[in-house]
Symmetry: C2
Subunit: 455 residues, 2 copies
Amino acid sequence: MNKEIPYKIYLEESEMPRDWYNVRADMTKKPAPLLDPTTGKPITAEALGKVFCEELVKQELDDNNRYIPIPQEIIDFYKMYRPAPLVRAYCLEKKLGTPAHIYYKFEGNNTSGSHKLNSAIAQAYYAKQQGLKGVTTETGAGQWGTALSMACSYFDLDCKVFMVKCSYEQKPFRREVMRTYGADVTPSPSTTTAVGRQILAEFPGTSGSLGCAISEAVEAATSREGYRYVLGSVLSQVMLHQSVIGMETKAALDKYGVKADIVIGCAGGGSNLGGLIAPFMGEKLRGEADYHFIAVEPASCPSLTRGKYVYDYCDTGRVCPLAKMYTLGSAFIPAATHAGGLRYHGMSSTLSELYDQGLMEARSVKQTEVFAAAEYFARIEGILPAPESSHAIKVAIDEAIKCRETGESKNIVFGLTGTGYFDMMSYEKFHDGRMTDYEPTDEELAKGLSKLPKV
Amino acid sequence: MNKEIPYKIYLEESEMPRDWYNVRADMTKKPAPLLDPTTGKPITAEALGKVFCEELVKQELDDNNRYIPIPQEIIDFYKMYRPAPLVRAYCLEKKLGTPAHIYYKFEGNNTSGSHKLNSAIAQAYYAKQQGLKGVTTETGAGQWGTALSMACSYFDLDCKVFMVKCSYEQKPFRREVMRTYGADVTPSPSTTTAVGRQILAEFPGTSGSLGCAISEAVEAATSREGYRYVLGSVLSQVMLHQSVIGMETKAALDKYGVKADIVIGCAGGGSNLGGLIAPFMGEKLRGEADYHFIAVEPASCPSLTRGKYVYDYCDTGRVCPLAKMYTLGSAFIPAATHAGGLRYHGMSSTLSELYDQGLMEARSVKQTEVFAAAEYFARIEGILPAPESSHAIKVAIDEAIKCRETGESKNIVFGLTGTGYFDMMSYEKFHDGRMTDYEPTDEELAKGLSKLPKV
């Protein structure tokens, strides 16, 4: 039977995964391929290689290899902040009076404050291997930018970050963390790129979006010798690197003989959710076990629950390959809500396909209820969660309350992707009763979807 | 021989200390007793009980019991964020090219961002046991205030925090974290207390100090029914609770057969240093082993290196008991430097006595060199350190460089007390070259010491 479960399950370093798990290998119907926007045909490795690092392009296009060995240098870096703890939320269970067992995989114990470092270090490693001078990227909440700055500093690479303007303004100290790690940070949209100037002309006074910032970062990379663009979410390679979250989670649960019933993750572009559920989804795809997966997205940016499953541009400036995904349209600019990391118009192709196949559920939640859940959780479990992560907390609590009503002792696992230390301006708004909820109207959604690519 | 040492040594929850260790029990010459400012005689438990919780008064006055059992409720809370990792700084060693082995005990993996939670939860527990309504306190860098807010929220106690004004202004989001945990935060000196008004009249425009904030918090507690005052440093009870740091550190080293040679901690009031070195100092006092201890303090507030070992007031308003300690005088108001947690005019009586007996070394370091060490460390080891903690980093690096020169493979252990997420304004100043160093002149020191109590 089950051993006594500690508050925090830490794997030994020797128990850490040696491989990333590629869920696409177990999908019978694969995610739709990326298309070249100029030809409308599946994009070639050569074309992708102009934007992305070579080895990462290989990973991006690899639908078949189930396991990809993690290079030793990356394992060594992982050891500086991993394995991440899987926490049994004893205090939360007690407070809720639920028979459910709640576990969360806490990815916030590193300076980037989130899981983003898992992919940042991998991408920086491959860039270094290729002999590049530096990389460019975008960041929303600032966690990816911080993670990439840390990774680039470790491998002595130049790092240029385009930060979504509303986050840049809400989080004045995020920039300074990135500077501490030697990065160069520009609020987006900016006048430093042609696409930034074009977006500013079309939407004067815009607070930006991940879609805009991506366009700028891509331009900055492709217009410089020795640079490539790297991305912290959406792409299959990111999902691959983030599988380390799920692999560790599963190993920790297996060690104590616990079978998850529900696995919950917040979903913006899909990096955390995809990584967390990967090995569990693999078992479900192979018919070895069943799990109930729940993707939680903000009501203000509801790509899975209210978007359309079509080919779309990945960025506002339409310079990237086209991806088939649940999308609100690249013309959709989400409201300046307080979960900057979830303000992306689309969703990872892999997750979109899994969702379309009915293999997971999606829910949207409002930001005031998310912050209420965040504060409730902080007071009980101690950890001050990021607004993004708190989407998952909200639904985990909902499910635990359902168990209280039905008397079921389900094992609920959720991803606590990061900490909210740089989100105190948002918490302040919540405390002062100045936070509002926003949901796009049907007209706004229709407008966002009005400029889909013709394929 | 030594087993292979992981990057992070995590003890099992079952290996966590069940007792706090009271170093005073092993001191032949005990620290000088606290004196009642009205009588000039050793203070009684009854008099102390008007300000502090009963059980904490017992601990404060206990020079004899070597081990004090940790109540189960506190152990349960500790399990939410402890054991803290002891990290082998492989990357730093490599970068420095030193044969030294560097270890740091990292106490920053909790929302208070520091080791302060170790004592906050103990003090809140005893306040709750006594049936109090709430507690008051002061906070410098904001870490203690945050820790106490978390602890009070857990035990459903009211929490009133007086925050040193310069920190309140430098760290606008700290207040919001405390509010998230339900605390009430006032910048100090304030007009809400008689002593605050008096200090403001004497020093208009002062940016405050821990000494001022203590006076205000004591007044706020003693003028209210059902409240007591709690303190995050200096006191022997705090040193006792913080011994959990040293106990875990020693257990982790013992597990791998490693004997520390040098143990380094930053020193403000002494809470971290005293806790970290406690069990090692115990062995030294009992003649079982020898260690080289180094207390590191800011050059701007050099109580050990430039202060006097005399009885002094613990607070600027002179409402607290008198303590014999290395002090710059309660009239000394330190410059508004960026290590708010180290801006206290005195040093724990226990540490002062140990220092006076020649059992440890003290060094002072300048803040620009501290921030240079902080940034260097962040880029190599990933963790963004608090300015306070970075004092220890600076000296650990100095010692590791000495080993490179002599070829010695010493085991250097230092306390990394916390993270710098709320110190980005200070880092910004450093990056922009706007940070200056400050050392008090001999005249300023003489002025600070001009108002010592007559005992």
